[in-house]
């Protein structure tokens, strides 16, 4: 056995995600992914009114609140057979698109770019060269020499003041860092600009959702956005155009900055197109519905098995039995009472904590399976499904990223390279660019439908006696999210959420099959076991998101390193 490395966020109570790897001969030989926090909201929901569930489920998380609201109302609507007005569908879709764009931008620039970008090196850059490089890749107007000089001056003043501020948390000078000073400077400039554009995307969520995080405008049966073009307090032309202006600005940033940046980073770290594939069974669900029933969608869903795009099987309705009948969760290695493998409608959530034991139980996260197989979810799954299905927008942006990256790397890159650590970043940018078009399309559909005089936003319904079962899915920023509800006489009898990070971060199942995080780490290089930057790169590429904990601040103690290496 080689060295055992544990990466564990020790500064938060309860903790989130703990990764253990064994390193042998400079490569990861085995790995375990452990969720360190119990989520008990499902238990709280039992006995409550199904119309209230979405308010509670949004509190699963402080980052992806919207997604749990959407999946929850869809699950209850599915159980009761409620079709929502088309205005409600479009309003939800614009929120979905805006939330996804905000989330993808933040993830790339603010949470993972520093795994690839060496900020200190940007001090040595020639701003004129950085600007010339950027302008050769993109027509973005904020890549001028002056802009680059201003960012570099700001960085210099921080360093002169004896600190690097927010950038002190990177592994600077690590042997695995290899961008030129100019590319590093460009990345820092775009890091700052990205702060502005993620905020603009999130503003759209707030305008339609009344606030964000935790939107307030949903209802089982539709939305609560009153539409009245003659009323200041309702959704009117002024608000619609406020939304459109924001979406236009965000689309510019995504298409002209985010997409070329990802292509450039991908090209300069081309060897990372060969690491981190892991589980190559992919699952995505369709989203951005175009009708009241949910039978036509602007984003495709389906499965791909064993990395072979020809195995594509589409999921194309909110009622899809292929999805409904194939999802199970295993608790063989999770801290719950029992040892079962069950369909979400039949599950329970009874905690039974027994210390971290890699051979037995070692995570709060259950292990979801599709037809008994582990599946990778997330933007890569949706992009591959879209690519295989010939989705025109996804294909356009995927080919654009692959061509740009190929030109820089002087290599021919096909969609096969997407099964990798960097492929997940590329796919997220491709999906984000796809959303930048779809957000505006659905805004246009909403405006046109309102223009026809249709102001309907809600479909009334009643709860029948007896039992109904429903499921609602949503392709969230981190992938397939599904909520499962059993209603008995108008009350919730059972509720389960199978969330994207559960699919990806889940532990082994009863057959010992690794989850996607675990499988993706095996074979990763690790140059320096004390600074396992490469492990962070692959884990970050999934955009991990395990639910919130209270933050305790430790000002006096030196924060212990969260990386523990055991010989």
């Amino acid at each position: 056995m080689g060295k055992r490395i544990t990466v564990d966020p020790i500064t938060r109570i309860e903790g989130h995600l703990r990764i253990d790897v064994e390193v042998d001969g400079g490569k990861v030989s085995n790995s375990w992914s452990s969720g360190q926090m119990f989520r008990g909201i499902e238990e709280i929901l039992k006995g409550r009114d199904p119309r209230d569930a979405w308010i509670f489920t949004q509190r699963f998380c402080g980052v992806c609140t919207t997604v749990h609201a959407i999946a929850s109302v869809r699950a209850v609507e599915n159980a009761l057979g409620v079709e929502i007005p088309i205005n409600a569908q479009y309003i939800r879709n614009v929120i979905i698109a805006a939330h996804a764009m905000h989330d993808h931008i933040v993830h790339f620039y603010h949470l993972s770019a520093l795994d690839w970008v060496d900020v200190v090196s940007a001090l040595k850059a020639d701003p004129a060269k950085a600007s010339a490089l950027a302008e050769s890749l993109s027509p973005w107007p904020r890549n001028s020499k002056r802009e680059m000089e201003a960012v570099q001056a700001k960085l210099k003043s921080f360093v002169a003041g004896g600190q690097l501020g927010i950038f002190t948390n990177g592994y600077w000078g690590h042997p695995a860092m290899r961008l030129s000073p100019e590319v590093n400077l460009l990345a820092v400039a775009h890091y700052l600009q990205a702060l502005e554009y993620q905020q603009k995307a999130n503003k759209v969520v707030a305008i339609l959702g009344s606030k964000t995080p935790n939107i307030q405008n949903l209802a089982v049966g539709g939305v609560a956005n009153a539409i009245n073009l003659d009323n200041q307090a309702a959704l009117n032309m002024e608000k619609l155009y406020m939304i459109k202006d924001l979406l236009d600005e965000v689309a510019g940033f995504i298409q002209q900055v985010y997409l070329p940046d990802v292509a450039a980073v991908g090209a300069m770290y081309a060897e990372w197109l060969g690491y981190g594939a892991g589980v190559t069974n992919y699952l995505a669900v369709p989203d951005m519905p175009l009708d009241s029933k949910g039978t036509q969608f602007d984003l495709p869903g389906g499965t791909i098995m064993g990395g072979d795009l020809s195995t594509l099987k589409l999921i194309d309705s909110f009622q899809e039995p292929y999805f409904r009948d194939n999802v199970t969760e295993s608790i063989a290695h999770a801290w719950y009472d029992g040892d079962w493998d069950k369909h979400p409608w039949d599950e329970d959530t009874v905690p039974k904590y027994t210390d971290f034991d890699a051979e037995k139980k070692y995570s709060w996260v259950k292990a979801p399976r599709f037809g008994g197989k582990p599946m990778q979810v997330g933007p890569l799954a949706q992009v591959l499904v879209g690519y295989a299905a010939g989705h025109p927008i996804i294909k356009k942006y995927a080919d654009q990223v692959l061509t740009t990256a190929g030109a820089i790397a002087k290599a021919k890159l096909g969609p096969g390279v997407l099964h990798s650590t960097l492929g997940r970043h590329a796919a997220r940018a491709i999906r984000c660019a796809t959303f930048s078009e779809l957000a505006l399309k659905h805004w246009g559909l909403l405006a046109a439908n309102i223009g026809k005089g249709d102001h309907t936003i809600f479909t009334p319904f009643t709860f029948p006696a007896g039992e109904q079962r429903g499921f609602g899915f949503h392709e969230a920023p981190r992938g397939v999210l599904s909520h499962w509800v059993v209603i008995r006489d108008g009350k919730i009898a059972n509720y389960q959420a199978v969330v994207p990070s559960t699919w990806n971060a889940g532990p082994r199942d009863e057959k010992g099959q690794k989850g996607p995080y675990e499988a993706s780490l095996v074979g990763n290089p690790v140059a320096d076991a004390e600074k396992p930057l490469e492990v962070l790169r692959t884990i970050h590429s999934f955009d991990p998101c395990l639910a919130c904990a209270i933050h305790t601040v430790d000002v006096e103690g030196n924060e212990l390193s969260r990386v523990k290496t055991l010989a």
């Binding site: 990466v7 603010h110 949470l111 000002v555 969260r562």
Partner: protein, 109 residues
């Protein structure tokens, strides 16, 4: 607030003390905390000019609703520190003739 001391004791920190130790690599969007928020806004040029962190040493830290008795009884003293700081900054708080009772939502029936 992690600090040597008895639960319920106050700890006050200024900006430089909060950012003295560098932030650590993070795994998830939930990880960034106060320090990261402060440093990010500073780099973006929108950081606050004045920072005072009024903290309380916790009685217990676990999954539950509400405050431990030690922290609950420290609330008036923490509020007084905030009022003192506002005074110092030249924006004195107006004090109610009859203070309202402490009424956290999670303690309501």
């Amino acid at each position: 607030m992690t600090s040597a001391g008895t639960p319920g004791e106050l700890r006050l920190y200024r900006r430089d003390e909060i950012v003295r130790t560098p932030p650590q690599p993070r795994l998830s969007p939930h990880d960034p905390g106060l320090k990261e928020a402060l440093l990010t806004t500073e780099f973006a040029g929108t950081g606050p000019r004045e920072v005072l962190l009024v903290g309380v040493i916790p009685g217990e830290v676990r999954t539950s609703v509400g405050l431990s008795p030690a922290v609950r009884s420290a609330v008036p003293a923490a509020v007084a520190e905030v009022v003192r700081e506002l005074d110092r900054l030249g924006v004195p708080a107006r004090v109610r003739a009859v203070p309202l009772p402490l009424d956290p939502w999670w303690e309501r029936a």
